[in-house]
Symmetry: D2
Subunit: 93 residues, 4 copies
């Protein structure tokens, strides 16, 4: 089970909502909506994805990383290096 | 015609691709994909949205803002204040 | 005169405050402050720089870009391409 | 000893370099440097702070969080909640 196992439905609801935002953006562009209105919706979808990533990262640290760290050794080091790399991708995206 | 008028098809292609990424994420979560793999895809979708926002902003500055600035007066000031607010939302999202 | 000409003192005050934050960080590290406290201060300094960049960008659009756009022609196009590139650097940093 | 204990000198070198960037920015503003050149340097300093924050976070996860997780219990949960909150501040700054 992945770290987000207990939140799976909530994660899926968030993703469906984000999919709705992206479809809404396609309609706006189809209807020649004003640039700033499109940009505002792009910022909202970006924030929703960022917020989802923080939920997923918290779940990952609380479950996968915590369990690996409890076991210790090479697996623990590897999980933490992997989490740090994912945090770097989030911060830079 | 909005600032992205000449790039409308390209903007729609980008949005369809991002919609595909979000649907892909829903499948990954359904299949209990590993947290880090999900997070990597969330970062990729976030970067794609960010990149789209930069295209839209460049189009907006090149057309809507440039035209308003050429006219000058209150409309110009207003368009620039509006663009600055949108830039702030992008930088903070 | 640069776009921030009228705000020069305010920009300098902000930069001095950020310099103070960076020196404060050096003291914290010297005194072996707790990682999370150091990270909180790094986030605060990052936000202060980001906020300064939005002020500078607004001044630049309101003055340099607006004036170039009013003149039109190649200079206008160039100023807008240059502003878009700077916005991209801000969004990605 | 904080998580960055083994990297303390490297962290201090990075902070001194960032302090130098901020002082350089003050000189640029004093000399009425062109907005875009100032903005480029602000982006560079922001990136340097962001990069430092990723080093500090990796050290924190590798030491403080890993040790707390190995012990388990409430302290582990608390350390992970605290790290998640710090990651959220980084992603949003």
């Amino acid at each position: 089970m992945p770290g987000y196992g207990d939140n799976k439905e909530a994660v899926k609801v968030r993703l469906r909502r984000i999919e709705g935002q992206i479809r809404g953006l396609q309609r706006m562009v189809d209807e020649d909506a004003y640039c700033i209105d499109v940009l505002t919706q792009v910022s909202a979808a970006t924030k929703a994805l960022q917020s989802l990533s923080l939920v997923l990262m918290d779940d990952h640290l609380s479950h996968c990383v915590a369990e690996a760290a409890a076991e210790g050794g090479k697996v623990a080091d590897q999980k933490i290096a992997e989490a740090s790399a994912a945090i770097a991708r989030l911060v830079k995206s």
